[in-house]
């Protein structure tokens, strides 16, 4: 979590590159850290550092999400008293028909034989009905599975076709800059037509937003990227930002991987952190993403 010095980090890398056992222990330790995060065992400072290192990179974020989803999946199953996925089926009970029926009839039980015969008959009829119902359910299950397999095959074909289209588009579009820059001012409204647009191309890797942050001084800055029509949703969070001084006032620069922004309208909410640690909204910066 960034606690080692550069030299310690370099030395450790040399060790785990040479030693598979040590590398395995490192991976186990990372899994334990992810587990601690998921269970809320990290201090707030550790949590923040964890999020900055594990929820910013797609690979690592996926590991965290996998751990969380697995825990939820298992918890659901425990609640419903279902077996774990792909568990072995419960052992089958002996069918009633295999039990020695006639031995019951001939046994010297305190109850009359005819009562026992009736009970046995009811049980036989019941098990036959259950077997028929199971057979019908099995047929339905087989049909559903066949339908699902067909749908999966269809989805695979659709995906293959989409991938071909995407490959064709990639080769036919004109090259675009790796980084697109956009300067935004707070307060533009969608209805006024003042909203700036950004059109990333297939080769655009990063979009850099320069936010005019006014003249006020703050201890720090943070920003969140939101859909333009939903202030409560947060797509991305930027923490520990710093302002740069320019002739026209302060600016805050944030960068977003282009692939994270689909076509749509967005806003960036910029907040200044005051010495008392509370956040003050400096402004909301609207922009639109359109594709080439």
């Amino acid at each position: 979590m960034g606690e080692m010095s550069e030299r310690e980090s370099d030395e450790f890398e040399e060790k785990y590159f040479d030693d598979d056992v040590l590398f395995g222990e490192l991976l186990d330790a990372e899994d334990r850290l992810i587990d601690d995060y998921r269970r809320g065992r990290l201090s707030s400072d550790e949590r923040e550092r964890f999020e900055q290192r594990f929820l910013t990179l797609p690979d690592r974020r996926r590991e965290v999400e996998f751990a969380r989803l697995l825990a939820e999946s298992l918890a659901e199953r425990h609640k419903a008293d279902l077996p774990a996925p792909n568990a072995e089926p419960a052992p089958q009970r002996r069918p009633l028909l295999s039990l020695p029926l006639f031995s019951w009839l001939s046994a010297s039980w305190p109850a009359p034989g005819w009562a026992l015969a009736l009970i046995a008959l009811i049980m036989i009829l019941g098990s036959t009905w259950a077997a028929l119902k199971t057979s019908r359910l099995q047929d339905q299950l087989d049909q559903n599975q066949a339908r699902q397999a067909q749908q999966l095959e269809q989805a695979r074909n659709e995906r293959a076709s989409l991938e071909e289209d995407l490959a064709r588009l990639k080769t036919s579009t004109s090259p675009a800059a790796a980084i697109l820059s956009l300067t935004l001012s707070p307060g533009a409204s969608r209805s006024s037509g003042e909203t700036k647009k950004v059109t990333p191309g297939s080769r655009t890797q990063m979009i850099e937003f320069t936010l005019e942050a006014g003249a006020e001084n703050y201890a720090g800055y943070q920003a969140s990227l939101q859909p333009a029509d939903d202030e409560n949703a947060e797509i991305l969070i930027y923490k520990r930002l710093e302002a740069q001084k320019t002739g026209a006032g302060k600016i805050v620069v944030i960068r977003t991987p282009a692939a994270m922004l689909e076509i749509g309208d967005y806003q960036i909410k910029l907040e200044g952190i005051r010495p008392q640690r509370d956040a003050y909204t400096i402004g909301k910066y609207l922009f639109q993403v359109r594709r080439q």
């Binding site: 960034g2 980090s9 890398e13 040399e14 785990y16 590159f17 040479d18 598979d20 056992v21 590398f23 395995g24 222990e25 490192l26 186990d28 899994d31 334990r32 587990d35 601690d36 269970r39 999020e51 900055q52 929820l55 910013t56 990179l57 797609p58 690979d59 690592r60 974020r61 996926r62 590991e63 965290v64 999400e65 996998f66 989803l69 825990a71 939820e72 999946s73 298992l74 774990a84 996925p85 792909n86 989805a155 995906r159 790796a178 980084i179 890797q205 990063m206 850099e208 990227l225 797509i235 991305l236 969070i237 930027y238 923490k239 944030i254 960068r255 977003t256 991987p257 692939a259 994270m260």
Partner: protein, 201 residues
Amino acid sequence: MNHTSPEKKRQVLTHEAFDKLLSFLDPDRDRAGEKYETLRLKLTRFFNSRACLMAEDRADEVFDRLTKKLVEGEEIRNVSGYCLGIARLVWLESLRGPEARQASFDDLPVIPLPAEDDDERKLRLACFNRCLRELPEADGALLVEYCSSEHGSRSEDRQEIARRLQTPLNALRIRVHRIKAKFCECFDECLARGPKKLKYS
């Protein structure tokens, strides 16, 4: 996560070059594949630890350069150390490119996981369960067992699994890694069929 298998990586290296790389790693094809994947994991971890968004691509570049050296006839005694050296060089070179403007974790935005009652979270859980069921039975069971062992005894549990399967621990890790790769492909497909959601870069 782009858990790419050795077979998919052949699209980056030529078939011949990839064969040469595997033969260099080990005369036994299976063990060579395992060593390749272990090295790939180490390289992606190296680049991830440097806040590199394209860790898999950088790892490919390291393998490209390593293979080129092998084809040129260079004698390499310690392939792991050699790869680390190339990786550091690739990283330093990348600092001259667009990634130079994002060289630390502090420059990257945190992408929060979906909230508890979020519809997206429900969709993702549904896809998770579905894809787990679609794995071959033994693979799914192994993945669950390997990944869900209790916090304190995780290393011991994994060693026990390796002992039970009569396989070295590292081979077990690689096997789980491959199963997870298949799972992730299914997961991504499932999500893609859902409503408009966040995309990973």
